[in-house]
């Protein structure tokens, strides 16, 4: 089946080769008038992660890649109670979110609903535009929620989060901060304003970083017993201090602090960026 080259996603990365065919790289043609032309100039062969997956086999649904923006960056409160506050458009999202833990299912849900496959750098849109789309989808979901809430006494869950969103759907902007993880080359960005509390943030980050394709590939190839072991590992909490990694942030003063000590609002107002640190390196952080 033609779609085999989803295999390119192993290691949560993409094997990318770009080739510049310019004869005269220095004095090349005049820039076109529209700044968004985005022309490739540099020849660069990058192979991030193994090429092992290129033999791509099986249906699309089996593969998973890192994503630049995921449904999880959207109001993830929807995930725990996937049913309420959704219409047709958002229900796809929530279903994708709800099943995201099991990669296979998420992809088949995605595939069956025609949701854009979760591929790094696809669709090819600049991050600035992504911000707009995240906000738009957010306001859709929250507006629907608030109207449903009025119509029927909807399930009250994570009240705190909901209030934050229903209060200021229009005025709220996104707060994207960088997230890097020790041992991972390419960082991610997460919108803190899409989360109302540490739990959902940690969940989102775990999904971004810890459910890597290594674990996915291992899951695919391994026996059921092995798979359980992996699942157990996956459930390690970034916040619980019981796993190999711990979540830290750099605050306004430039200090690295453990995430989770201060109230959420205080955290979002002082955080500059996040880092998933190895627990072994994290000793010495104030608690």
């Amino acid at each position: 089946m033609q779609g085999g080259f989803f295999g390119g996603g192993s290691g949560g990365s993409v094997c990318m080769s770009t080739v510049s065919m310019e004869d005269n790289v220095v004095m090349s043609s005049e820039d076109s008038s529209s700044p968004d032309e985005g022309e490739l100039e540099l020849g660069l062969g990058l192979s991030l992660g193994g090429a092992a997956g290129f033999k791509g086999s099986g249906p699309r649904g089996c593969q998973q890649y890192a994503r630049i923006l995921t449904a999880k960056d959207l109001p993830s409160k929807v995930s725990s109670s996937s049913s309420s506050s959704t219409t047709s458009s958002s229900s796809t999202l929530s279903r994708a979110i709800a099943t995201a833990g099991t990669k296979r299912t998420a992809d088949s849900v995605a595939a069956s609903n025609g949701v854009a496959s979760q591929v790094v750098g696809w669709p090819p849109i600049r991050s600035h535009r992504m911000h707009i789309m995240v906000n738009q989808a957010k306001s859709q979901v929250t507006e629907e929620f608030s109207s449903m809430n009025k119509r029927k006494n909807a399930v009250e869950e994570k009240v705190g989060n909901k209030n934050i969103n229903t209060d200021n759907t229009k005025a709220r902007t996104s707060l994207f901060v960088k997230v890097n993880m020790d041992g991972t080359l390419i960082g991610r960005k997460v919108d803190l304003n899409a989360h109302g509390c540490y739990e959902t943030l940690a969940q989102a980050l775990e999904n971004m970083f810890l459910r890597t394709t290594t674990t996915v590939n291992m899951t695919r190839l391994s026996t059921p017993e092995h798979k359980n072991m992996i699942d157990a590992k996956r459930h390690s909490q970034l916040l619980g201090g019981s796993s190999e990694f711990v979540l830290t942030y750099e605050d306004k003063d430039g200090d690295w602090m453990l995430v989770g000590d201060v109230p959420w609002g205080m955290f979002t107002s002082s955080v500059k960026r996040l880092r998933i640190m190895r627990t072994s390196e994290a000793t010495g952080l104030g608690k």
Binding site: F6, V14, M16, G38, E41, V115, S117, H128, K170, I186
Partner: protein, 492 residues
Amino acid sequence: MNYFPDEVLEHIFDFVTSQRDRNSVSQVCKPWYKIESSSRQKVFVGNCYAISPERVIERFPGLKSITLKGKPHFADFNLVPPDWGGFVYPWIEAFARNNMGLEELKLKRMIISDECLELISRSFANFKSLVLVSCEGFSTDGLAAIASNCSFLRELDLQENDVEDHRGHWLSCFPDTCTSLVSLNFACLKGDVNLAALERLVARSPNLRSLRLNHAVPLDILQKILMRAPHLVDLGVGSYVHDPDSETYNKLVTALQKCKSVRSLSGFLEAAPQCLSAFHLICPNLTSLNLSYAPGIHGTELRKLIRHCRKLQRLWILDCIGDEGLEVVASSCKDLQEIRVFPSDPFVGNAAVTEVGLVALSSGCPKLHSILYFCQQMTNAALITVAKNRPNFTRFRLCILDPTKPDAVTNQPLDEGFGAIVHSCKGLRRLSMSGRLTDRVFLYIGMYAEQLEMISIAFAGDTDEGMQYLLNGCKKLRKLEIRDCPLAMQRF
């Protein structure tokens, strides 16, 4: 060659402005090379690592304006590691050290620090224009340095940069003596700006023709600004949320009535779609409209707006306009040359435009030659129709949100459709493809796309042969972007 004194040749070369032509001139003979190099003022470096700053300075001592590009295009989509490079500091440092009379700097996908901005502001007395596109590494502090020290600044244009916003008063840093501003674009800044300082700046800038505001500038300030700058040609509205019955809105209408020169409109970064009718006044003169950051504008309000834009040449829009909306575009905008339709939500399977909108545009807009189209699905039949309707495409970029989706009706690969495009559009220079594609499409491209200079491919092709067809056939190919293609994997 020796008939003319150097000054005459130099004068003649002044009329040769495009980089390509100047490069050709410099290759004719040694004397021409010397004269051209010493007189060239505008230099374009497409790859900042292809040549050293020292070499550029040596060759073009009269350099006044430089454009530098850093990271590859894929960096926009997070496909390049963050520490790849593209630092501009070495260039600025070299220019400063060599006392170059730098006046204009345009950077794309580069990293520029606050220190670097400060160095620029202090080193070049005649510095006039700073244009930063998709750059990062700086904050509003760096902007403050530029504002404070560049006495003759004409242009500060920030497009889609990642700027750390310290909410400083960089706008207040423009001294009262600075009255030279022609163009100011800070739409990408995330933080608040000093609104009073903004108003005063506009008031003392009689030459201001282009102003793009960020979301922190509310409607009442916009109205005051427009009253002070009725000669604006390019306007980017910040926030457009208001009560339609308010006095502010009425004042805005009055202000817009005076703005007879506006030809380009963008922004609406936060918009309440009611009462866009205030802008119906300026729509008839618009040649460029960019609503791709305005998800709040859609539906009937959007269509009403478009219907007034009879002279539109360039339209950037979100796909929430829908196929229906594109049909309105096709029937109203007969001068349309370029259109870009961006996705408003990349994850929902209900992307609002399909092949229907594309076909409508191709049949309704006779001058359309450049398109970027993000859509839900495509068919070979539609592409064949588009190719027949519109053989004048020079840039054709199609992005199906599901990157390997086949023909939505027949389930076949889209080879025939894209083949028709390259066969019919003899002037095609840039092509981006998506959807299910086999080696066959590369056969067609190699055979027909004689003018093709840049191609972007993702998830396409089967074997090496595809690449061979492409590389052997397209003699003018300069830039090739590939990701996730089996044909590439085996060869590279």
